[in-house]
Amino acid sequence: MAKAADSSPVAQGLRFFGQATAGVTHEIKNCLALINEFNGLIGDLIQAHEKGHPLNLERIKSLVGDIKRQVASGGEITANLNRFAHSADEEWDQVELGAHLRLFAALAQRSLHRRGASLEVTAGDAPRGVRTRPMLLLLAWQQALEATLGGQQGGGVVRVRLREEPGWAWADFSLEGASGGRLPGPGVEPGLRQALGAREEPAPGGLSLGLPSGQDQ
């Protein structure tokens, strides 16, 4: 008989860590594949020129620019991977929710793209800092995202808007531009919510996840 998967927040966090890392390394590999093709084409054009074909200098300049762009993109992806890896350094830490959600959006980008979906974060004017468990919070964003998408594969945009209430910072997840969406039932697992001291409420087109703010944990 197959052994049931460990559903503790830590085990879920580790599984999420593995999945997110796999997605990010895929993106890095994609950057390298593109650099490889651009570099290869530059080599091909030079070789053709050596055989007597006119040199298309504009095309070569454009390819050099493409390589520079991919290097910048790869740098951004590895910076996100580094921030993600460091999210496990401290069990509890002060987290700026907008930046944390944008990191999550970058990590989830590949898997969302494959489903024809995307994630947009509206952090509002003021940064909302909370003392929380950064790694588990990434897992909570993942579960809230999945619940908002409702298992549908037909695309759409998930918008996350941050707002503040006395003692609480809320992230409102809503799905736009897709049929289906939010499934009944909890979005973020009760054990994970408990580990974060979080609250969840239904919201139009999705759910709201509340985190305690302005208090020492």
């Binding site: 895929h26 994609n30 593109l34 490889n36 093709e37 290869g40 091909d44 494959r114 024809g116």
Partner: protein, 121 residues
């Protein structure tokens, strides 16, 4: 030789197509499985080079759909993962070869020629 390239990474397939063109190999490219399947059924390609991970209908589903309707179509699957899962699934579904990204265009062409030479002999 006429080749169809299918990969959701537009810059990758368009550049690969340009590189094949410089080597005298005619190629078309599309960025999703649906268009890949349509072109594969509408045209007579010598080879289809197919990415395994794409939005919508993925590489494996596209491969299976092409093989169901045109079993003799020759297909090379590309995968960005070092995991053997995708390439084994591709080979089981009837692909002739697999290549790991980043791919070497000379290796790609060599594999196409290798199969065609085997068929001739």
């Amino acid at each position: 030789m006429r080749v169809l390239l299918v990969d959701d990474e537009e810059e990758l397939v368009s550049t690969l197509s340009e590189r094949l063109d410089l080597r005298g190999i005619e190629s078309d490219w599309v960025t999703n499985g649906e268009d890949g399947l349509r072109l594969a059924l509408e045209n007579d390609y010598d080879w289809i080079v197919l990415d395994m991970k794409m939005p919508g209908i993925g590489g494996l589903e596209t491969l299976q759909a092409i093989k169901r309707r045109r079993p003799s179509t020759k297909i090379i699957v590309m995968t960005g993962h070092s995991s053997s899962q995708d390439r084994e699934a591709g080979l089981r579904a009837g692909a002739q070869h697999y290549l790991l990204k980043p791919i070497d265009v000379e290796d790609l062409i060599a594999r196409m020629h290798q199969v065609q030479e085997t068929e001739v002999s």
